[in-house]
Symmetry: C2
Subunit: 331 residues, 2 copies
């Protein structure tokens, strides 16, 4: 609640408090406009949390899974983890004189992102391997923490961790207040998200599932360390998401939230269980407050999943229409 | 508390309730004899949970990890999961006429366990692969549930899930009552433990970490399933335990409980962190109520870890001396 709103409230006596204002005060989802999306969320939570109703679900089974990029925080003009990797390439360049003539690093260091990524998946793997492995998991955590504390988004100049969706923060809290356990299930790096997910989303490290590399246990001068190895253990995207869910959670979620085709299998897996189920897609429709993109986007492509949502009556959030506030820093 | 004890209590008025009995009523660890092991546990919990003390640890960081075989339930005369696999071989034999002449199955089906296991690790892998993969994760869960509901231990004739250690059940509850989050970190199969760990130990599936196979997402007649693949993703034993901990929990435990050399690296990893730390080994010393084995045992070998515990002042439970009750069914 804003200070202005609090001030306003002080001017009313309880006797004349308008009903609409009283409702707003109680509303756990104030950044969501009244409409079918908000109504679907609230109605679902009511169905599974009301004892005695046929679709009641005991609290330990109220598992809700959230994609991260494009669902909880923004992903334009490119995935924030790629911004991290590019900053790391710059920071590490003095130790790698060979990068001056070696692609994709040479292009990157000249500020030519498009040229660097012309190498496709191979170029991305090279960038990730050069910046994400070889150190201990503790060293990597420190590097990520330092970056999220200082790096700023090219367009908004905000910290990346400020570019989270206020309505989704409210939704996370609302679900937890109703006995849900909230998990991230992201194609992004598990150890890239864990250092800040608890502070920003209220989601502890053990509930953050993402793509991850192999780790190797070693004793270094008698001190045990875990080394991040240059070998991928799980790509937690597309068909990898149900695998990550089963491996890490061990039971099927009853609610899933995504925004792209990379989330399709997670939503399918969630919806295929018995009893009440909920699937929601965030559709990026607001080119002014955020970005507008879907079927032909290189990042966060939403095509097949949108078709399936329409066929199967999943909930689709129209960001422009359904959210009265996008980022916490929006007025 | 036994019915006899409850009856006894009714005969006392509060005024004459003996102090020792009052203490016993408040004691969260009644199956632990007074002694250095119990004292070490209680003292550690006091240190990390008392606000204002220098070693206070906030509740979300109170991570405690427990080995399963030999630490939470028994593991003699052989791992219970092996008993499960052998029962599955018998159940599946009619579908595999070739097993009559193929080792290790031929020996197994003749009741010659020693002969079957003469093939060493290769034989065990063959038995596991023949019984643990190829089905969906849901089918496997059903198979495990049916087995734990009916199979009985060869010596005690009890259900395997009754052969859990009463003092460890009390310890799990005691830690959780003090704001700890309890995890299993076992060399045993993750999906073998999850179907019953919540009911038996109060540990939900998402806090059960174990060895696990790759899974494959498929649509079968439009229905999504996860197939258990014949490829190991993690052997969560020895140096694999810190890997499993970092991958699944993402922060270092402050307390670790094990019983064998397979737990050594987990205890090392736990103890190498900053602040108050606790490591405990269950030493199987009671040949009457349970089994007595350590340095030369083929199952649950405790040799190097015992040396390290002695050097580093880790807590060692002498089952015979420290526990007044082993199994819940003991009087």
């Amino acid at each position: 609640m804003s200070i202005a709103m609090k001030h306003l409230l002080c001017c009313f006596s309880l006797a004349i408090l308008p009903t609409t204002l009283a409702r707003a005060m109680d509303d756990p989802l104030p950044s969501w406009n009244e409409g079918s999306a908000k109504q679907a969320v609230v109605e679902f939570v009511g169905r599974v949390t009301t004892a005695g109703r046929p679709e009641f679900v005991p609290s330990p089974e109220r598992i809700a899974v959230f994609d991260n990029d494009g669902t909880l925080w923004a992903e334009q003009p490119f995935y924030f983890q790629l911004a991290f990797a590019l900053d790391r390439v710059k920071a590490l360049a003095p130790q790698h004189p060979e990068w001056k003539t070696k692609e994709p690093f040479a292009s990157l260091l000249k500020g030519n992102l498009k040229g660097a990524l012309a190498g496709g998946e191979r170029a991305i793997v090279q960038i990730v391997m050069a910046t994400h492995v070889g150190m201990t998991s503790e060293e990597f955590e420190r590097i990520v923490k330092d970056w999220v504390d200082t790096a700023r988004h090219p367009k908004t100049k905000r910290l990346y961790t400020e570019m989270v969706y206020q309505p989704m923060l409210e939704l996370l809290s609302y679900l937890r207040d109703n006995g849900f356990k909230t998990f991230i299930v992201s194609g992004g790096g598990q150890e890239f998200m864990r250092p800040w997910a608890e502070r920003v989303y209220g989601i502890p490290p053990e509930q953050v599932i993402g793509s991850h590399n192999e780790l190797k246990f070693e004793l270094r001068n008698g001190k045990p360390v875990l080394i991040r190895e240059p070998k991928i253990a799980l790509i937690d995207d597309k068909a990898g998401k149900p695998v990550g869910i089963q491996r890490f959670i061990g039971r099927r979620p009853i609610a899933a939230f995504g925004n792209s085709d990379g989330d399709l299998q997670m939503l399918q897996w969630t919806m295929a269980g018995d009893g009440a189920r909920f699937a929601l897609l965030v559709h990026h429709t607001d080119s002014e407050r955020e970005w507008a993109y879907d079927r032909v986007s290189h990042i966060g492509k939403l095509d097949w999943a949108l078709d399936e949502a329409n066929t199967k009556d999943w909930t689709v959030v129209d960001m422009k229409r359904d959210w009265n506030r996008v980022f916490p820093f929006d007025q």
